[in-house]
Each structure stands twice: as C-alpha cells, then as structure tokens.
Amino acid sequence: MTSKKKKWKGGVQVPWYIIIPGLVCSLTAHFIAPIRGAMYAFTDFKGVGEYNYIGFTNFINIFKSKADVAAILNTFKIAVPFVILTLFFGLLLALALKDVIKSRNILRAIYFSPVVMIPMAVSQVWKFIFDYDGPLNILLNHLGLSELTTNWLGNLDTAIWCVLVVLVWQNMGYTMVIFNAGLESIPTDLYEAAAIDGASSWKRFRHITLPLLAPSFTIAVVMMTITGLRVFDQIMSLTGGGPVNMTHTLASDFYYQTWNKFRYGYGSALALILTALISVIGILQVVVLQKKEDSVR
C-alpha cells in the first residue's frame, strides 16, 4: 500500500508536460518581460530605432526633474494615509456591523460595492463632486462657507487629497470584509468569559479583539500598501496628472512618460523604481508583521 502511494506521489501517472503552458505564461509575464523592462531602464530607448545603454542617467534625470520627484513623493503622500484610513474605517465598519442583525447583509453589500466597480468609471462622479461648479462648492456656498470653495482638482494644495478621499471611499469596503472575516473567527465564549470577569467593553476590545485580529491586520496592511503604491486609475480619471504634471504617482508618471512622450527608457526607470519599492515594502511587511503577529499571540 505504502509503496503504491509513493509511486503515485512520484507522479508516474500525471504527465509533467501539462505544466508547460502555465509555466511559459508565468515566466513570460513575471520573469522574462520584467527583466527586459529593467534593462530598458538603463537605455535611451525611444520606441523606435537603435538605443544605447546609458547607465544611471535616467535615474539621475528623474531625481533632477521636479515633476518626477513630485510623482515619487505623491506616491507616498497617498499610500501612507491611504493605508491608515482604509484600516481605520474598515475596522470601524466591521465592528459596527458585528452586532447589527437585521440589515447587516445589505449594509455590507453597499459598503463593499465600490470595490468591484471599474475605478475609471466610478471616479467620474467624484470629478463631478469636486468640479468648480460642482456639488461640493455649491454645498459650501449654501452653508455660508464660500471662502472654502476652490477648484479642488485644479489646486495643487488640494488635488492629491481629493484623490485620497476617492481611494479611501472605494477601498474601505475591502478592509471591512477582511476584518469581518477576522471578527467572525473569534469565538464568542471568549467575550462571555471576559464579561463574567467584569472586563469593560474597551478592555475586551483591547485584550481580545485586537490581538486576535492580528492576522487580519497583516492581510489588510499588505493589500492596502500595495494598492496605495500603485494608484493609477484615480489619477488618470481625476487629475490626469495635472496641474502642471505635479499630481502624478509613479504608476501614472510611468504611463505618461512611456506612452504619451514615448520615452521608453525613462518610463521603464520609473517602473523599476515602483517595482523595487513595492517588492521591498511588500516583503518587509510580510516578515515584520508576521513576527509581530507571533509575539502578540
């Protein structure tokens, strides 16, 4: 019996070649193409004709360019508060819905719905809301706060934060379901025991809910950081990178430089920075958060 099992596991029956299509696809998109892209980052490739390897020139020029440095800074300006806010609101919603019985499913479905929608499409309504002649300014005027009105998406001080609002609105339902799943896995008798021992609701939250939600935090932080760093659709639909090219993120700047200005080499350098950033932060986060998770337990 055991020898027979070993023979099966040895894979005599399942031919090895059935892995080929899947493996070739994966190798192409996630290994060969990115390496080729990384090589372009060190060239002056313009899309047609010959190109030369020019060392780190593209990277030096990126850090000399005001707009490209702004794109790097914007990437962080969006990603950091994005992670904090989506986690905060997601947890809040999940906790609020925990004890709601009647309308829980419908409310959950509403909060999650923006997650599944084409960002390019739903962002249009926010462009309308933030429009100079749009609902937000009309509302402010009605409330007698007309000194606060501004061209929200055309103003360098406000444009990035408008993008952040849209991002948080669209993604808080995502963190909500992550925390929902975490909350549901906490056994209720833990709370009952704590209540019998006279623990206040804050103490129950602090000493039962939060530690046992650690795995959910890990997932949520990683997912939101990656989403926050690669923001593209909302920039394209809301600001288009303007005014004066100062509201790009790395992803939208990569698109703009490569496909609008045909600077293939330069754009690839931006993509390489983005890739390095996400990879390093992604791997770091998984390691650090998993350690923390273990220590909390």
């Binding site: 399942v14 031919p15 299509p21 696809c25 193409a33 929608m117 084409i118 249009q124 659709d233 983005l274």
Partner: protein, 279 residues
C-alpha cells in the same frame, strides 16, 4: 449582549444610517444626474430630475457623437475577460495539478516562483510585452489582450488551485486508474469537478481584475476598434468634459454587467477577497 432596543443601540442605528447615506451619495448623484439635461446637472445637481430625460443614454448608446461605441465596448470587455478566463482556468488548473502531484524540490521551487510572481508587481513587464505583441500585430487587438491577461494572471490562478489539489486525497486517482481511466479522463471527470468552489473563486477574482483594469487596456487598446469600457470612458471624459449627464449614462452602462454579477455572487466575492489574495 443582545439587549436589542436600548437607546445606545438606537443611537448606533441612527449613526449607521447617516454614514450609509453619506457613503451612498455618489451612487445617488450618478443615477439622478444621468436622467437630467446637461444644464440641469449644473442648476440642480442634488435634487431629483425635474423631468426624467433619457437623452444622455440615447447619446451614449449611439456613440455620443464621439465615435465611442459602448455596445461594442461591452462586447470587447466581455470577449477579453471571457477569453482570458477560459485559458487561465484550463492552463492554470493543469499546471497546478501537475505541481500538486509531483512532490519534490523542483515542484516546491516552482511553487515559490508562482508566489513571487503574485507579490512582485507586473508594471515593469508591460512595455516589453507591448513591444513584442505590437511587432506581431497583436496590439490594439482582442487576442493580444487575452494573451497579456492570461500570462499576467497565471501565477495567481496556479497558486489558487495548487493548495486545493494538494489537499485532495490521492485515492480518487487510484480508484479511477483501477477502472482504466487515463490521467486526462481522471482529471477532467473526477478531479476538476471537485474544484468547483475554487474554480468559482478563480473566475470571480480574475473577472474583477480583468474587467476593471485600466492601465493595460489603455496601453494596448487606446484608439483601436477593440477599445473596452474603461478605455471608452477615459476617452469620452476627455472628449466631452462637463457633459455630466452623458458621462454618467456611460458610467451606468459600463457598470451594469458587474453590478448584475455582484448581485448574484456578492457573498462569494467578499469571501474570496477577504482571503487577501488579489491578482
């Protein structure tokens, strides 16, 4: 814990209703303003339409005077999503089955490779893939996009399947082999049907990713006849800035398919996403 109607729970109820209203305002604005005239979207952005007009929808469906054919766009989005998913499910499940039934160092190494493929972003590879597909005439073309998405989403799909194949007892294959079934018959008739739940997850997650993705579709399809919904919306908003009723009609038309899908599969979508894996 479940004293239902205290004043505290009443307050919380009111608060939840308020939060939900604020959260849902964008949807209200999309729907109501799509049924107004352009000038009314400015004079009366908040209110219900004074008179319901469907001109915006008629405009959008007839091409909005901008050569943006949303019916064709719907078809293109559908073809690209469906085509990619069929290939992803077939090749992905086969590769995962192979990984799961061949234990060993190489198998583990490949498994790690697929995992890394999910973590590391794919932007860097888009340009080289674009250059190659353009050279063979597949840029601006549905087939090119299907190839792109099949390649990009493959590690995710393989990864999703592998764990479940590994957990499946070998006994099924043994019994089938005794009955004289070859590996393919066993896989197709016995193994894959037991994976219906994970196949469903793979279909849903890949659908959401491909249908909603804008970056690759802008790169590959901009200005082509194969333009998909996100590309059309993007072009439309540049062409007719500020005609909000028409823009919102286009938004509704492009969101409708995914909303219908969401109505039927919302539970499955939420549980798939809650796992923290995304293509």
């Amino acid at each position: 814990m479940n004293r239902r109607y205290t004043y505290k729970s009443f307050l919380r109820g009111v608060l939840m209703v308020l939060i939900t209203i604020v959260f849902a305002i964008p949807f209200y604005l999309i729907i109501t303003n799509s049924l107004k005239t352009t000038s009314e979207t400015y004079s009366n952005p908040f209110g219900l339409p004074k008179q319901i007009v469907v001109d915006a929808f008629r405009q959008t469906l007839s091409g909005a005077g901008q050569n943006a054919n949303f019916i064709a766009g719907l078809g293109n989005s559908l073809a690209i999503t469906a085509g990619s998913i069929v290939l992803l499910i077939i090749f992905g499940s086969l590769a995962a089955y192979c990984l799961a039934r061949h234990a060993g160092k190489l198998s583990n190494l490949l498994y790690m490779f697929f995992l890394i493929g999910i973590i590391i972003p794919s932007q860097l590879g888009i340009l080289p893939m674009y250059i190659v597909l353009r050279r063979v005439g597949l840029a601006g073309n549905i087939l090119g996009c299907i190839i792109l998405y099949t390649c990009k989403q493959m590690p995710f799909t393989i990864f999703l399947y592998t764990g479940f194949f590994r957990a499946l007892p070998i006994g099924y294959e043994e019994a089938a082999a005794v009955d004289g079934s070859n590996w393919f018959q066993t896989f197709w008739r016995i193994i894959l049907p037991q994976m219906n739940i994970i196949t469903g997850t793979a279909v849903l997650m890949n659908t959401l990713y491909i249908w909603n993705d804008t970056f690759d579709q802008l790169v590959f399809l901009s200005g082509s006849k194969a333009s998909t919904l996100p590309v059309l919306i993007y072009n439309l908003t540049i062409a007719i800035t500020a005609r909000w009723n028409e823009i919102f009609a286009a938004v509704i038309i492009s969101l409708l398919p995914i909303i219908i899908l969401y109505l039927f599969t919302q539970k499955a979508m939420m549980t798939s996403m809650a796992g923290g894996l995304k293509g």
